[in-house]
Each structure stands twice: as structure tokens, then as C-alpha cells.
Subunit: 67 residues, 6 copies
Amino acid sequence: MELSTRNRLKARIKDIKSDAIMSELVLDVGGQEMCSTITTGSVNRLGLKAGDEITALVKASSVMIAK
Amino acid sequence: MELSTRNRLKARIKDIKSDAIMSELVLDVGGQEMCSTITTGSVNRLGLKAGDEITALVKASSVMIAK
Amino acid sequence: MELSTRNRLKARIKDIKSDAIMSELVLDVGGQEMCSTITTGSVNRLGLKAGDEITALVKASSVMIAK
Amino acid sequence: MELSTRNRLKARIKDIKSDAIMSELVLDVGGQEMCSTITTGSVNRLGLKAGDEITALVKASSVMIAK
Amino acid sequence: MELSTRNRLKARIKDIKSDAIMSELVLDVGGQEMCSTITTGSVNRLGLKAGDEITALVKASSVMIAK
Amino acid sequence: MELSTRNRLKARIKDIKSDAIMSELVLDVGGQEMCSTITTGSVNRLGLKAGDEITALVKASSVMIAK
């Protein structure tokens, strides 16, 4: 499967905090920290846990620039 | 100014392509490539050009995970 | 590759309109029409054209409800 | 009221899971499954429940393509 | 039609710039300026023009906070 | 720091509701109500509380129009 988004950042999960509906993942992207909120259902379905090597996907239209 | 998003990735602009309304920026994030689409008006207002050191901002709710 | 989003709608591309930076795709999702804007660079990279069977991906946090 | 987004998918709510702040809705879109996260406040305000016929709204800029 | 998002800001269109695919709208929201990018197809379909009184809709998950 | 988004609405926090992962903020934007969902971690990190004068940030690509 090929994706339209080129924003596929290799990352490692540093931490996952979950409640019933939502989970917050802290990611390490080449030494920089990034945060993702996804459903706890998806965390369980993918079997995500701290230490996993994953890919962070972001649509280009969601990326702002600060200078 | 302090932002609610922790997703502030240091990046360098590799390339900017623009038409009248939209611009596409290719970013280098620690060796990984990332793409951002913002208005050409914002590119001009910030004076963005290839080579600039910038920060890429992404709201945590926009970050998906692939494994 | 497994994705955190469960929103993977099988669709067929009905039409693509492009300018230099952005493209607008009209999709047929089981008889319902859906629209996607992605970069023209991604349209070319994936070789997308009218008639293609594709999957439309949407993060759950981007789906609103009207009643 | 007329909306700028053409992405208005007729759907039926299959399931709602809620905690204090966020709710996760599983939708049936013509036989395909779709997921939406909205606030529990909005679920209550609209009186949403399993079985309801609703419309799922998505801005075109939030729709990615996989091939 | 009732929407899940409570973010419905009354606004007036100050300016519209369009190219073939995308349009940029500058809005006046009670004296504050706001910008929206939608497809030119939607601008034409809704017959939007400078001076129109409209409603700007934003999903709560897309609103960041700066302090 | 200069941001690519021009959508910076001055607002006052009217109310914050939190659970472990997500918080919902009700904002007053010049007399109009707006809602934001951010992580509870960010609410705590910024020390946000009812009554605070803040800025609501929204990327232009996330703003829909209703007429």
C-alpha cells in the first residue's frame, strides 16, 4: 500500500498513557519529541507499547511553520 | 508565546514550490523528509526560502501511527 | 503496514483536477461522492488517474457528525 | 445551511463509547466501517445513540489516498 | 441539520483569492481576522463573494491554544 | 516566533473540563463561543485555567464555510 502523504517519520514510542477512549503517545523522532493522540482501540488493535519502532504519519495540510 | 502543541520539530527548508494560492514546502527533519502545504501569502509574510531553519508544528490529534 | 486509523473507505476515482501545487480528487464511495485535496506531487508519485480503485483514509478526529 | 464541504456521507451509528470528555462513534457507511471521535458534550447535545441515521462530515483537506 | 461542532463563528468575507483548485478567504470575525482555504469548486457552488455573511466552522480537535 | 497561520483569535477561557488524557476548553471569542480539545498534559504544562486570556490558533485548511 502506497500513501499519498510523504510525511512518514520513523519514530520510537517512548510512552503511552491511556484512558477508556483516548491514548496519548510520546514519540522519539531522531532525538526530537513528538506527541500523538489516537483512540485506545487503535492502540490495542495494533498492540502498541513503549519501545516499539513505528512510523508517524501526518498529512501535509496539517503541518504549520514557525520561524 | 507558549503553545499547547508539543510537536515542534526543528527542520530546514529544502525546497519551496508556489502557485498563486498554495505553496508546498519540503523540509529536512534530522535527515527525514517532511512536506507542508501552507498559503503562499504566509510564505511571503514570513519570508520563507530554501535553507531557512524553521520549526514544523503539528497538533497531536493530526498524528497517525503506522506499524 | 498496519495503520492506527480504521477509516479506510474503498473508493474509485471519478475525476482529478490539478494545478501546479494542489489537486482535487472526486471519489465514489459505494455510490456516495467524496472529495480529497492532496498535492499534485502525490498524484504524480502514485500515478493516480480517473478509474483507479483506491482507499480513502481519514483520521477519526477529523470526522464530524451532522444530524 | 449550505456547507463548503461536499464530503457528507450518509451513515448509521453502530456503537458509541464515551468517557467524561471524548466519545468514539463507530459508523456504518454503506457497509463500510468508519470511526469518529467527538466530544461527549456533543454526543449529549445532539442526543446521538446507536441506530441513528446521521451524516459524517469530513473536510476535503483531511482525506488521504492509499493505493 | 444540527452539527457536532459547536465552533460556528459568525463572520463576514473580506476577500477571496482563487486559482484553479484552491481559494483563500479572509474573514472578519467580530473585528478579528481569520483565514480559510477551501476548494474553488466550493466557492463557486456556494456563490461566495466578498461582503457575504457566513459561518466559519472548525472542529474542536483543530483548535490549538497559545498563551 | 512568527507562525504561518494568521488564524490567531484572542479569546478568554470560560471553562475547562479534564479527564486523564483529554481536556475540553470552552472559549469566549469576542462574545462568540468556541471549543478546543487538547491534551490534559498541555493544559497542565501551560497552567491553563478559567479566566485566562489566551490565543486560539487554527490552520486555515481546517476552517470550513457554511452559508
